[in-house]
Symmetry: C2
Subunit: 220 residues, 2 copies
């Protein structure tokens, strides 16, 4: 499939790449927040722009064309490091560090000022984005990965910026459809509820009973 | 309401602030994309981090506490410049430049590699986020601004990274509920459909028949 990239890397090489690019994305996340909040005068903005342009040019001297895609190793280890919600090298992503405990798929994350919608609250769309990812990961964790078919979100009340939990669990599987529900939780209270249906892609169905290693396992 | 900030600025001062901070956010957007795609070796990453940390420190020398909030002028002009989807000074935001033509509310935008989910496709969650905003703006444009109550998204097929249109229109208003539908369009084909119900906040209902100027008008 286009955008899926096979790379023959050792675990050590993957760890080294993570240790190289994850801190870079973290520093850009801090810059993003500072850009939203800054009130410095024009000369300081001009100087900051100069520094940022220099960093961008430097990073661009060797770069992937198009988009990062999803990377695989021959033993089936998947890396979604460019993903907009979970990508460890994507400064747009909070990033969600999605974990699994029993049937529960969840992420604990602190939501910064760059994700604001209504004043002091997390943007409802960003909440939808995180739920889409965490519900989808529940399907992956259950061995039935799918593209989002439908997603329904019910906002009970505003979700303040700061620490939140996003969680999900598979309710049932019917043929190619996996039904998943989830919640956003703040201080033990549910602020948002979601239901999603995820569709097993034809490309995966066509793999039959002997999929390549890792295709049905969680990535990172 | 907390996070709503009144500022007595002239139109010229607002234009100057936009011209100062919007280009900064644009440069950070370019850096975000470069961070996702870069393959430069460790010494270059270290140098880029140094430049980025310097820029962040400089921008932090004078900054808003907490979050940007929503800013108002006494004549009722609203600025949502920190918003995660439309904020002109928020590098997380594409940003959507949401316009109105007749009953249609829409944004034409080019989606870059930092919004990727499945390889080469826009993250389904990011699509949900943009739809939440554009559907909500249709309610605002119809004079019935609301918090998202429910949002339902149907993904017909993947939406490729690149130029897309996100559009919406109000279907009907029932009491405090505004029913809005919308679509994502790529090359004249609908890739995603959405329906939302937006709830007129009690704070606005309490304003009665004489709301302050601008409270029911689109911001920017």
């Amino acid at each position: 499939m286009f955008g899926h990239v096979m790379e023959d890397l050792t675990p050590e090489e993957i760890a080294a790449a993570s240790q190289l690019y994850a801190p870079l994305a973290d520093r850009v996340r801090e810059l993003v927040a500072a850009t939203v909040l800054t009130e410095v005068p024009a000369p300081d903005v001009a100087k900051a722009i100069q520094l940022i342009e220099e960093a961008t040019a430097l990073l661009g001297t060797k770069a992937v064309e198009g988009s990062f895609g999803v990377r695989w190793t021959p033993d089936g280890k998947r890396r979604t490091w460019g993903n907009a919600i979970v990508g460890l090298r994507n400064p747009i992503a909070p990033p969600l560090d999605i974990r699994q405990r029993g049937d529960l798929t969840y992420a604990d994350v602190v939501i910064g000022p760059q994700y604001e919608g209504p004043p002091t609250l997390v943007h409802g769309g960003i909440i939808a984005a995180m739920l889409d990812q965490v519900l989808g990961d529940a399907a992956v964790n259950a061995g039935v990965p799918g593209m989002t078919g439908t997603l329904r979100i019910r906002y009970n009340r505003g979700t303040p910026l700061g620490p939140i939990r996003v969680q999900s669990a598979v309710d049932r599987v019917e043929g190619v459809k996996t039904f998943v529900s989830g919640q956003v939780i703040v201080d033990d209270a549910v602020t948002v509820e979601a239901e999603g249906i995820f569709i097993l892609p034809k490309a995966v169905r066509d793999l039959g009973d002997n999929p390549p290693p890792g295709i049905l396992a969680p990535g990172d």
